[in-house]
């Protein structure tokens, strides 16, 4: 049970916060943060316990069970999600009232927002602790759904709605692909339970197709090329969302999946090479975009794409530093996002070109965010230093080309981070009146994060144990990861120094190359993935509209679209069935003459209806058909049917006549004139339907089953005390049919009365 405790606590946070919010809106955030911290405590406590796996029955029909695990990866990611979640919720307490006021929404919506953030946190905790492929997908889509609601939280804002939809569709679609891969694996190994899957995968490696599907899901979540473009758009969300989902939670989920499923990817070198390429491309693309982007949240978004590109490279290389990288990046990025939000709230500005010199107005924030920026750009004495150290360590093994790419990437990171921080806080003091001080709760989370970044940088030993545990879980072998400062000329250090130099150089000369770079990137965006996506969507929309324009609108065509395919299908079926004895012509004896005559009369009347000029004549001809058929039935020795059909026809003719009397004369005339020019396709449809009806009934009548139930009813009629067998069948043997039939009549009657209700005219007046 202790294993479940943190999960249950995390799940309880959102409802508890909601309840607290009902009592007093401000209490929700505190309640939520408290819950998150309690869950964190439980998580730590759980590490001292024996249990590492819990299994509950769930859906035995599919052999599914709820499986939870406690291992290095789950511990690392869950604590990350819980800590940053708690801080972000507290931050939102200070951020949201202002934001809601700007959006002109009731302050009570704050509780809803915090509830969603906490629900997201719970989904994240669930995602990292489950140990089953299917559950993994369920949790993954839970994060997708909640992120949709969070990104689109400002629903009055069209941009934010569009961003939410984009992220939903993109991450939703890629996660369905992930699911297809998971399903393939589940079927291949006969189980969805991850330990068993890994065990069986060791014998027979997973198929490349399945792995590619899994990877697509992960890439979509982690905003990697070519699915990256949802992330910059998602910056339309309120800042707490970005700082949580887009630094430490949702985007981390993708890379987490790859780490969790690493044993499957380990043997598949092709797939890993593909991931490697994507990682480097995302890294380069993200960094370059971050260098020129103007809104500061966008800078951070592109930076996130780039940073997860690093993490992807690490996973693709199978480096044991991969989990550490994500964990070290998360607090830095979250802190910077929170800073960006605080700056926007204080100054009301969102772009780098509009702010500057804020270090005077917001000294604490400036200091704390400087530490975070240092962490992001991997300067010593911050936890970020080690993320680059493991990165360079992994690259150094691969050769000079990789090392060069790494130095460039890290250099770009330093350059854009410097640009961001300097753009916000550096430069001359603004001439405008000093901005008001930020509320303490808006700054405190940044300070806490900065402190933790420093702590990790100064005492790296604290990180070794969790990082090793995570690496062990990921790679399934003991880890030898070391974190310490080495003051010697090893490759990692040289690379780091090179990167700093490059970064500093780039930052110093920024005015020289920025315009050119932004022109180049602007041109490149015309052929980018986002453009492709929009084009695809546009074409689909066009196709959709075009099809809809072409679609059948007319009642006639709606009917024809039922009958013509049926007729064609029927004819095809007749065509493919074996030919032998399909049709019998039958004999016509002298006794049949009357029958044939009546049939001929019916046909003639039916044909005449097509040429009938007036409505009355039409109705009379229709009843002629009916009466001839009644005659047919009489000659065919079915007197009951004949009697009924005579009566029905009579009533029917009179009803028709009654209807005609109701209809305005000029309207009838008008309709009559219109009706008499059938289109060619109507004739064709009639011909197809008729031919098909003829041939199908001919074939059916040619194969009459000799010994039908009918004969049995004749024998039983006496037992039913009814000399008239038809009456016996109707009232006794198949009486239920008759009851049903009569109910149909009553239902029709109800329909008629409601259509022609007596108080219609009164109702009309009321309207």
């Amino acid at each position: 049970m202790p294993l479940l405790l943190p999960i249950l606590l995390a799940l309880a946070c959102a409802p508890l916060a909601y309840v607290a919010g009902r009592w007093r809106p401000g209490a929700a955030a505190w309640m939520g943060a408290l819950g998150a911290l309690a869950a964190l405590g439980a998580l730590v406590y759980e590490w001292t316990q024996e249990t590492t796996r819990l299994v509950f029955p769930w859906a035995p029909s599919w052999g599914l069970s709820l499986e939870f695990t406690r291992d290095g990866l789950s511990g690392l990611y869950a604590s990350m999600a819980l800590t940053i979640g708690a801080l972000v919720v507290l931050y939102s307490r200070a951020y949201m009232p202002h934001h809601l006021a700007e959006e002109q929404r009731p302050p009570g919506d704050e509780v809803r927002f915090q509830g969603l953030i906490l629900a997201f946190m719970a989904a994240m905790v669930l995602l990292v602790t489950v140990d089953d492929l299917l559950l993994l997908f369920v949790a993954l889509d839970l994060t997708t759904i909640i992120s949709y609601l969070l990104i689109g939280f400002d629903r009055e804002d069209p941009e934010s709605r569009a961003a939410a939809l984009l992220s939903l569709v993109l991450t939703g679609a890629t996660s369905v692909v992930f699911f297809a891969g998971a399903m393939t694996l589940g079927l291949q190994y006969g189980t969805f339970s991850l330990p068993l899957v890994f065990e069986r995968a060791a014998q027979s490696p997973a198929s490349t197709g399945a792995l590619v599907c899994l990877a697509v899901g992960a890439l979509g979540k982690s905003a990697q090329v070519p699915f990256h473009f949802w992330l910059p758009r998602a910056m339309a969300a309120p800042t707490p969302v970005s700082s949580y989902l887009h630094s430490a939670a949702m985007v981390a989920a993708g890379v987490f999946l790859l780490q969790r499923l690493y044993p499957l990817f380990a043997p598949a070198t092709d797939v890993r090479h593909g991931l490697l390429v994507i990682g480097f491309v995302s890294m380069g693309m993200g960094s370059l975009m971050a260098l020129v982007a103007d809104p500061f949240k966008r800078v951070l978004a592109y930076s996130t794409i780039a940073q997860y590109g690093y993490a992807l490279v690490l996973v693709a290389l199978g480096s044991e530093g991969a989990p550490l990288y994500v964990a070290a990046h998360a607090p830095c990025k979250a802190a910077l996002f929170l800073t960006a939000g605080a700056v926007t709230q204080v100054t009301g500005k969102k772009k780098l070109s509009e702010v500057g010199g804020l270090r005077h107005a917001l000294p604490v924030l400036a200091g704390a965010s400087a530490i975070a920026a240092a962490g992001l750009s991997a300067l010593p004495l911050t936890v970020g230093f080690f993320k680059d150290e493991v990165f360079f360590h992994a690259l150094a093994k691969e050769g000079p080309a990789f090392m060069a790419a790494g130095v460039v990437g890290a250099g770009l990171t330093l350059a854009y981070t410097l640009r961001l921080w300097w753009g916000l806080f550096g430069g001359p003091r603004p001439s405008a009146p000093a901005a008001p001080a930020a509320p303490p709760l808006l700054v405190a989370p940044v300070v806490v994060l900065a402190a933790s970044i420093l702590l990790g940088g100064v005492l790296p030993g604290l990180l070794v144990t969790p990082a090793r545990a995570a690496a062990e879980t990921m790679r399934g072998e003991p880890s030898t990861l070391e974190l310490a400062y080495h003051l010697d000329a090893r490759a990692e250090n040289l690379l780091a120094v090179g990167a700093w130099g490059l970064g500093a150089l780039l930052f110093a000369t920024r005015n020289a190359w920025t315009p050119a770079l932004s022109r180049v990137l602007n041109a490149a965006s015309h052929v980018g993935a986002e453009r492709g996506y929009r084009l695809l969507l546009l074409q689909l929309d066009r196709l959709s509209t075009w099809l809809h324009e072409k679609e059948v609108r007319d009642l006639r065509d709606r009917v024809a679209s039922v009958l013509v395919p049926t007729g064609l299908l029927g004819l095809t079926v007749l065509g493919v069935t074996p030919l032998r004895d399909r049709f019998t012509v039958g004999t016509v004896g002298p006794a049949d003459v009357t029958l044939v005559m009546a049939l001929a009369f019916a046909s003639a009347a039916a044909l005449a209806t097509l040429r009938a000029k007036g409505h009355l004549r039409l109705v009379l001809l229709i009843s002629c058909v009916g009466f001839s058929l009644a005659m047919v039935f009489a000659f065919a020795a079915a007197p009951d049917v004949a009697l009924t059909s005579v009566l029905v026809e009579t009533i029917f003719t009179l009803l028709f006549a009654g209807l005609l009397a109701l209809l305005p004369r000029e309207r009838l005339k008008l309709a009559q004139d219109e009706a008499q020019n059938p289109r060619g396709r109507d004739r064709l449809a009639g011909a197809v339907a008729g031919a098909s009806a003829f041939l199908l009934s001919w074939s059916a009548l040619s194969h009459l089953h000799v010994d039908r139930v009918g004969a049995q009813t004749v024998r039983l009629a006496k037992a039913a005390h009814s000399p008239n067998v038809v009456a016996a069948v109707l009232t006794d043997f198949r009486g239920l049919d008759t009851v049903g039939e009569m109910t149909v009549v009553v239902a029709a009657l109800l329909g008629v009365t409601s259509l022609l209700s007596l108080n219609l005219s009164r109702k009309g007046k009321k309207q």
Partner: protein
């Protein structure tokens, strides 16, 4: 609970309601109570249906074939349960939403419920036709509910097109009788096992087309968008949520149970039609602005999924078809009812049902789509798996475009306590089935257990 219980109750109730003015509140409550009673009776039948011998009776205790056999196996029961619940929910919704405006509405809804129950319980081809007509006639009467010109237009299209479907169905049943000499389904099964393999192909084709009209898949669907758009929201919910079940149930019953040999022949055809419906429905839904039209096209794509599932060999595909039909029925009802209202609550319910339709967990729809995907992959049918993925994505896009429409954010009467309860109950059912899928999976698995001659 004897088998006739859930059959008799709505029948008698309908007859009584026919006298009464349905606009009075107590009449509506009587109808609601009766349908709820039917639901309870059906639930009470569950253990028997799951026992070794499915409950059955023959009318008048005549020999089978002479008398009509009614039988409730697992397939019948699960469809009856879901359909009755959906009908009940819709009736409650209409009543609490602002009062029923037509005298005969409750009676017709109850008759429709009776017809549906009968269709699911009967084991006689012609009796199936009679109950089918009962449900259809009630629906014909209901289709014009509201009586605005657009409602009448929808009703007229619906009646004429479905009359064609009904006459196809009648013809097919008669051909079955002429060819096999019996109307009892189990006897037809026995005949089919011994008889020539091609003998039932013609009636089978006609049945496919007739159910195609009810279910609304390509190319028999052209009536659906217009009718679902122009009929009143409750009526659209009834037609799409409950009545379409006749189509899927009929395909399962006649295709899998009664004429498996025909189904085996029809697989390639079903596959093509299914793929066409999926693509057609998903793509057309994209550019529609009217939410109900979006839903109509989404339901066409859903119907495509069902018949694609039927086209797969092996049991898994059939299970998937059952699950898709059941989940789809609740989805559609919830969607049509929720889109009728504005405000936050309605949007919330809509989003749950939309996620279910798109197959996003944790919802019932996810499991049904997952099942289809599983069946497709198990058969090594990768293109179909790709199609399912594509359909999910496109319907997600279409449904949530509708969700975000400007109009919806501002206008419309909000769900109040009563209507909200109905819509929330449906959505909640979807979510509960998402988190605890065992009942749905069991239903899907067991429903096809007793059918015909499965491999």
């Amino acid at each position: 609970m004897p088998l006739w219980g859930p059959l008799l109750l709505p029948w008698v109730l309908g007859a009584v309601l026919a006298f009464l003015d349905g606009r009075r509140a107590w009449v509506a409550w009587l109808a609601i109570a009766g349908l709820a009673g039917t639901l309870v009776c059906t639930v009470l039948l569950l253990p028997q249906a799951w026992s070794a011998q499915a409950p059955q009776f023959v009318t008048g205790d005549w020999p089978v074939g002479v008398g009509i056999r009614l039988r409730a196996d697992q397939l019948s029961i699960v469809f009856a349960l879901v359909s009755t619940s959906v009908v009940l929910g819709t009736l409650v919704y209409e009543h609490v939403a602002g009062g029923i405006t037509s005298r005969s509405f409750p009676a017709l809804v109850v008759f429709m419920g009776a017809g549906l129950t009968g269709v699911f319980f009967t084991s006689d081809a012609f009796n199936f036709y009679v109950f089918f007509e009962l449900a259809m006639t009630a629906a014909f009467g209901l289709a014009s509910y509201g009586e605005k010109p657009r409602n009448l237009r929808a009703a007229f299209t619906f009646v004429v097109v479905n009359l064609m479907g009904s006459s196809l169905f009648l013809t097919a049943v008669v051909m079955l009788y002429l060819t096999t000499g019996t109307l009892d389904m189990l006897s037809i099964i026995a005949w089919g096992q011994a008889g020539p393999p091609f003998a039932l192909l013609v009636p089978g084709t006609l049945l496919l087309c007739a159910f195609g009209v009810k279910l609304g898949f390509f190319p028999f669907h052209f009536w659906a968008p217009a009718v679902y758009r122009d009929a009143g929201p409750t009526v659209a919910a009834l037609l799409a949520g409950a009545l379409a079940n006749i189509g899927s149930y009929g395909l399962l019953r006649f295709g899998v149970d009664v004429m498996p040999q025909v189904l085996a022949q029809a697989r390639p055809l079903l596959e093509v039609l299914g793929a066409a419906s999926i693509l057609y429905g998903s793509i057309l839904a994209l550019s529609r602005r009217d939410t109900r039209e979006v839903l109509a096209y989404a339901s066409i794509s859903q119907a495509g999924l069902i018949i694609t599932a039927l086209s797969l060999e092996g049991r898994e595909g059939l299970c998937a078809a059952v699950a898709l039909a059941l989940a789809g029925s609740v989805d559609k009802t919830a969607l049509f009812l929720a889109q009728d209202r504005g405000g936050e609550r309605a949007r919330r319910a809509y989003s749950v049902a939309a996620f279910s339709t798109a197959g996003v967990p944790p919802t019932a729809g996810f499991w049904s789509k997952a099942w289809l995907l599983r069946a497709a992959l198990e058969q090594g049918h990768t293109p179909l798996a790709g199609l399912v993925v594509l359909a999910s994505t496109l319907s997600l896009l279409a449904l949530f475009r509708a969700y975000q429409r400007e109009r919806w954010l501002r206008e419309g009467a909000a769900l109040h306590r009563g209507t909200g309860a109905v819509v929330y109950a449906l959505s909640l059912a979807l979510i509960v089935a998402g988190f605890w899928p065992e009942p749905l999976l069991r239903a899907g698995r067991d429903a096809i257990q007793g059918l015909g001659t499965l491999p």
